[in-house]
Symmetry: C2
Subunit: 406 residues, 2 copies
């Protein structure tokens, strides 16, 4: 007997999280096992509050455009379930909803925290023999999920960062005057996004001079030495710094005491601003700070085709795994070969993934701690390959709006 | 007898200033009047210091790629010539260079200040009967040059701003929680860039709720009222603000006294940060501030095809005007018709342009002072039409590097 399926999105948005959702939806439409395809609004919260809609009723062109629409089209949440052995109430609510709507398959697209939800729901479903298949689908620009070779969402963010750095480099070299440019990128605990800036090169020549990662304890003294050395050589330094850098004691630089600018004004703001002030105090007054901010996680006008298609593929493959009765797993990516780059969706047990974090291996960071190695570049390079442009209307990207803006 | 020509770029970079340079270069290659095509490094400074190179010697593919390479590939400067009646020394140097290199035509691509240079050099050339043709070619993302319908460079910046705002809107609506997002864009005296954010729409529905322009004296009290009214209605407000807004006394908000955050910390930084703090103090703690910074003037991965082609066309047309002996003018754009949009390069006397500023007409701003009218939208819309993508190599835009990075 056919059952319905439910898709939900959770955690921070990416440029391709909707591509995975479309992958699940289109494969579900074709499935002999699945009847209606529902989407829950704002992740698991929509299940708890009964807010959902049916993708079978959505205009097909709208759905197709979702593949290149950034952010979570169904809405997202940051809701953490309690342990069901301590408080079962939300679980009872969720599975009552599943029963009422005849949901046999639940696909949760998200990052670390969302995989925690997948783990808890699937363990509950198994324990209570509730016969609902629960699968996780990865997404995160941070690329920090364990076991999977990489995460959908990372490739497009990396492509945006690499592209913008090439452009910033052009801009920064336009005048004869000296200049230090500091670019702050996301990544609280893992430096994959900052590392991706190393992909920006001209004929094999580095565009970014220095990269600071959360994986390496940050020393202000060494930082100023590094910058000074570059500055003395060329007078023009381009630095990328991860928002998550911490000092030797593990204190986030962004949390540390605000700095005086020498006029008694205290400087607040992010890591980039903080470093800017240090460079101004010690090296040169000509310092610019650029923050990519949320632009880096929603730039659908700068999608990696590889990323969009892989996101779609893991969504599609999740339906096949569900049909085969797999539950309590995440559908990740296995790298089959490097050259040529080949990948394959693969299944990973959810309790080996939830609440874990994959950082950049130390051997992929140069011994000075301020750049990544060629091996790291070789790992990242295939993930930004190919361009997938959204449709354009009236000179701007034509995105689908489902939940938002109604 | 054939003469050589010289091209130089000046002022802040744009994404299409090189397209104009290529327009001049390719048309000069074809010209019966022009022999060698030189490019001066860092604008007029290269003439003064004898730093230049010859575009005839540059690889043709490199030159072609310049058309979609952002920033000023020949380097730029912000050098203002003195009045030659007071100090002739730099003029003597410049025209000695012209004579030595047999330069008969000088094309200067730039904004307001650069047109001042064109005016001074052409008046000197005329006065001293030096027989060098001097023409200005407009570029500025600010769109603030007088007489010309619009400026090459503006359309692509507007497209980048509209695109990024559509993406930010998607990102800002992903959670259920309340949020005020403030986006700071460039524009010190004219609000064209801020106005272009109004182009971001979904099916005719506004994406940006409020736009604050330098053309309208800024009142913090009214601003907070506007934001509160939007916030009370939807809980999610998207605001665009020009860096150049000023209070009733003409004081730039960015120059005004830093504000306390309520913890005694003084907040410095741009207008966006300043407004963020005010909204936090009076309306909600959930405020994000995004600054497009230099990204908006060099985003060659998001070019308006119309802009690229028009930039090329005015460059090309400048050569024809030069061949016909026109000097002391700027080659601007005349709008022939609105629907369908048709333009034509046209010649404007330089002394009617230099040191002037074109602002948004008051009748194109709504009476509340916080948005633009449909007429303004109709003016901007054609300028962002069409997409021109750069070549890609290894997943990133392949830009030409001439002066920079050698």
């Amino acid at each position: 007997m056919k059952k319905n399926c439910l898709i939900a999105q959770s955690g921070g948005p990416t440029a391709v999280i909707n591509s995975s959702a479309v992958g699940v939806a289109f494969e579900s439409f074709r499935s002999d096992w699945i009847d209606r395809v529902y989407a829950s609004e704002n992740g698991i919260l929509g299940v708890l509050t009964g807010k959902y809609f049916c993708l079978n009723d959505v205009d097909f062109e709208q759905l197709k455009r979702l593949k290149t629409t950034p952010s979570s089209a169904f809405g997202s949440c940051r809701h953490r379930l309690k342990d069901w052995r301590e408080d079962e109430s939300e679980y009872v609510q969720i599975f009552r909803f599943f029963q009422e709507k005849n949901i046999g398959y639940f696909f949760y697209i998200g990052g670390n925290d969302s995989m925690d939800t997948v783990m808890k729901l699937s363990s509950y479903s198994k324990e209570k023999q509730l016969d609902v298949i629960i699968l996780g689908i990865p997404k995160t620009i941070d690329n920090d999920l364990a076991l999977t070779d990489h995460c959908p969402g990372y490739g497009s963010a990396a492509k945006y960062i690499g592209t913008s750095l090439l452009e910033i480099y052009q801009d920064a070299h336009v005048y004869q005057s000296e200049l230090v440019t500091i670019v702050e990128v996301m990544g609280r605990n893992a430096g994959w996004l900052a590392a991706s800036s190393a992909l920006a090169q001209y004929n094999g020549k580095r565009v970014v001079d220095l990269i600071y990662l959360p994986e390496i304890p940050f020393s202000m003294e060494q930082f100023l030495k590094d910058v000074k050395a570059c500055f003395d050589k060329t007078g023009n330094v381009l630095i990328v710094v991860s928002e998550g850098i911490r000092d030797e004691n593990g204190v986030y630089l962004s949390d540390s005491e605000p700095l005086s600018d020498g006029f008694g004004h205290q400087q607040l703001g992010g890591v980039g601003q903080r470093l800017k002030q240090e460079v101004m105090n010690h090296i040169t007054q000509r310092v610019k700070c650029v923050e990519f901010n949320i632009l880096q996680r929603c730039a659908a006008h700068c999608l990696s085709e590889t990323d969009v298609e892989e996101a779609y593929k893991v969504g599609k493959e999740a339906v096949h795994y569900a049909e085969n009765g797999k539950s309590g797993c995440m559908v990740g990516i296995r790298r089959v070969s490097d050259k040529p780059y080949l990948m394959k969706p693969d299944l990973f047990e959810i309790d080996t993934i939830a609440n874990q974090e994959k950082k950049i291996p130390q051997k992929w960071i140069v011994s000075e701690g301020n750049y990544v190695t060629q091996e790291c570049l070789d790992y990242m390079q295939p993930l930004i390959m190919g361009e997938k442009f959204p449709d354009y209307e009236n000179g701007l990207p034509a995105f689908s709006v489902l939940k938002c803006g109604e």
